[in-house]
Amino acid sequence: MIGVNMDFSFSEEQELFRKSVRGFCEKKLAPRAGEIDEKGEIPNDVLADMAGFGLLGMTISEKYGGSGADFTEASIAAEEIARADISMATAVYYLVEAGWGFLMERYGTAKAREEILPGVTNGKNFLGIASTEATGGSDIASISTTLEKKEGKLVVNGAKSFISGVREAEKYGGGYVTIVKTEQEPGHKGLSVCYLPVKDTPGINTSIFKQMGREGISTGAINITNVEIPEHYLIGEWNRGIHYAMEGFNCARTLVAAACIGAAEKALESGIEYIKERQAFGTPLAKFEGIQFQMADDYARLESARLLVYRAAWMLDQMYGKNRFSHGEINKAVACCKLVAPTTAFDIIRDVLTWYGAYGYTREAGLERGLRGVYSYIIGAEGAMNIMRIIIGKEILGKDFTPY
């Protein structure tokens, strides 16, 4: 019985947690999903309820008010949150905090952790990631925002763009895990990571973009002019930022992929109910092979994406808990799920929307907001599709074949 140790089922606790989060989201989040998309913000009471239920910064340990969730549990929550709000807005809020909060706790200084993390887990402050600049997000080596040491302080200069949660960080307080240049070395060398507070920080100016989707969370730019931050806001070691950034991206990307399949699952379930009921030419739509086969393909693709997501989450847990798997293996597994899940989710939501016909095209049906939201992850939030391909290529072929 060689295969006896291979088990694809969730534990009883994981199943119960899924049931719990679903119950919570169906009650507190799903009824507000339309409002979140229309008004362009997640209402305060929803965030407070999420914090009370332990969903905000949930990978952060209990010491700082978090739930100490591992990535399997955090992925379950991401999936369920996106099921309830398929616009992805709430999922984005959740996953940047869960992904980058985890990194902050792992590599931030004790003083910074104590200052920042409790505000994240109690829902009072927002924590995001600021990596992308106006010149692009994929080419991380081209980052030009600098961090310098000056008289016992750190000084940041530059600008970050297309950053999630800028208005939230200004409104609620909080800030960003920020990737900065600390040495003018070529390539990925010379990058560091620091925490950049946003609210009431002298030298910070922000602006907000109008977006195509996931409108419940803002996206904007942060201009940074001679912003002084204390030395304990440096995250990890000077000039080793690329390693921390990759780790944070791996955590957040897994949760992104989990959220994508959650949104797709919800859409597909509603689509399946719809095609069984809706009749055309005297027959339920589900009886037409043109529809039924599409549904079967969608289901199979969703299941494959789901397996990739939970394998990546499980591998992260194995790495952090049991020291298994190299960073290279993790990079590849995470890139696979982040490559597959957004496109799969987009295609499925589009198919379901099409089955719904004219009703699918209405805002009332609630499917179009899923399509608009998920597309942000095809464009490249938390890593573009082609970057995922480069990561996979590099892990398979080796560094000698890296194109850039």
């Binding site: 009883e12 119960l16 719990s20 919570f24 239920f53 332990g54 949930m58 209990e62 739930s67 969730a69």
Partner: protein, 235 residues
């Protein structure tokens, strides 16, 4: 204050489909859940313990899954059992289990939402020889006793009993909590006792369970006036 809560795990009725040929409910692959009002009973027990201290023991007709959820919500200990019997048999079985236990209060849901017999609570109280307050939408402890606001069809009444007593609660009494991840993981060390499968004698034999047949009458009416006449005549 030692409280016992009786809970039943049932099929999630919202997920049950009816086989069109046999009209039998299809339970294969249908998830199970805690019966709604029993969750209210559990929530009330936990609230009382939080306020007055003590212990909450849950006696659950169901599986280990159900026990884990109950413990995650906040019960201190769980006993699980399975039984094939009618309401009298089940209540008698429960009384047998409970009579040697130490307790001040027993809480039950007013009924299970699959069978709606409303019998387990009163029959259990009868078998144990203790007072029973049914359909409570609010309860309050007082020196050595309990006061319950009993929901009647056209109003409510206040009823008082000495402890130990049994109370059945309605859904209006509270909003059951949803366990968080920390609570779920924290509950994994709590004790679950399995008592096995009981099959006491039963006075009721279930021959079959079938869904009510739904058929349209297919009557086509000419106008509103005719519709009104039909409605009045069918009243």
């Amino acid at each position: 204050m030692d409280i016992i809560v009786c809970i039943k795990q049932i099929y999630d009725l919202a997920q049950i489909k009816v086989d069109s040929a046999s009209r039998r409910p299809v339970t294969e692959g249908v998830a199970k859940k805690l019966s709604d009002f029993d969750k209210n009973a559990l929530e009330e027990a936990i609230r009382i313990r939080e306020k007055h201290g003590g212990k909450v023991l849950a006696i659950i007709r169901g599986t280990k899954d159900a026990a884990k959820e109950v413990l995650a919500m906040g019960a201190d200990e769980a006993v699980i059992y399975e039984i094939e019997s009618d309401s009298l048999g089940t209540a008698t079985f429960l009384a047998g289990m409970i009579q040697n236990m130490k307790y001040d209060l027993i809480l039950c849901g007013e009924a299970s939402i699959d069978e709606y017999s409303f019998q387990i609570g009163p029959r259990l109280a009868q078998a144990l020889g203790i007072a029973v307050l049914t359909y409570a939408r609010r309860i309050e402890l007082k020196e050595g006793g309990i006061v319950g606001e009993r929901d009647l069809e056209n109003g409510y009444e206040l009823a008082e009993a000495k402890l130990p007593a049994l109370v059945t609660v309605t859904k209006d009494i509270n909003e059951p909590r949803i366990p968080t991840l920390v609570q779920i993981l924290g509950a994994s060390k709590k004790k679950i006792t399995e008592t096995g499968h009981a099959k006491p004698e039963s006075g009721v034999e279930t021959l079959s369970i079938q869904a009510v047949e739904m058929k349209r009458k297919g009557i086509i009416l000419k106008d509103i006036g005719e519709l009104a006449r039909v409605i009045i005549s069918e009243k």
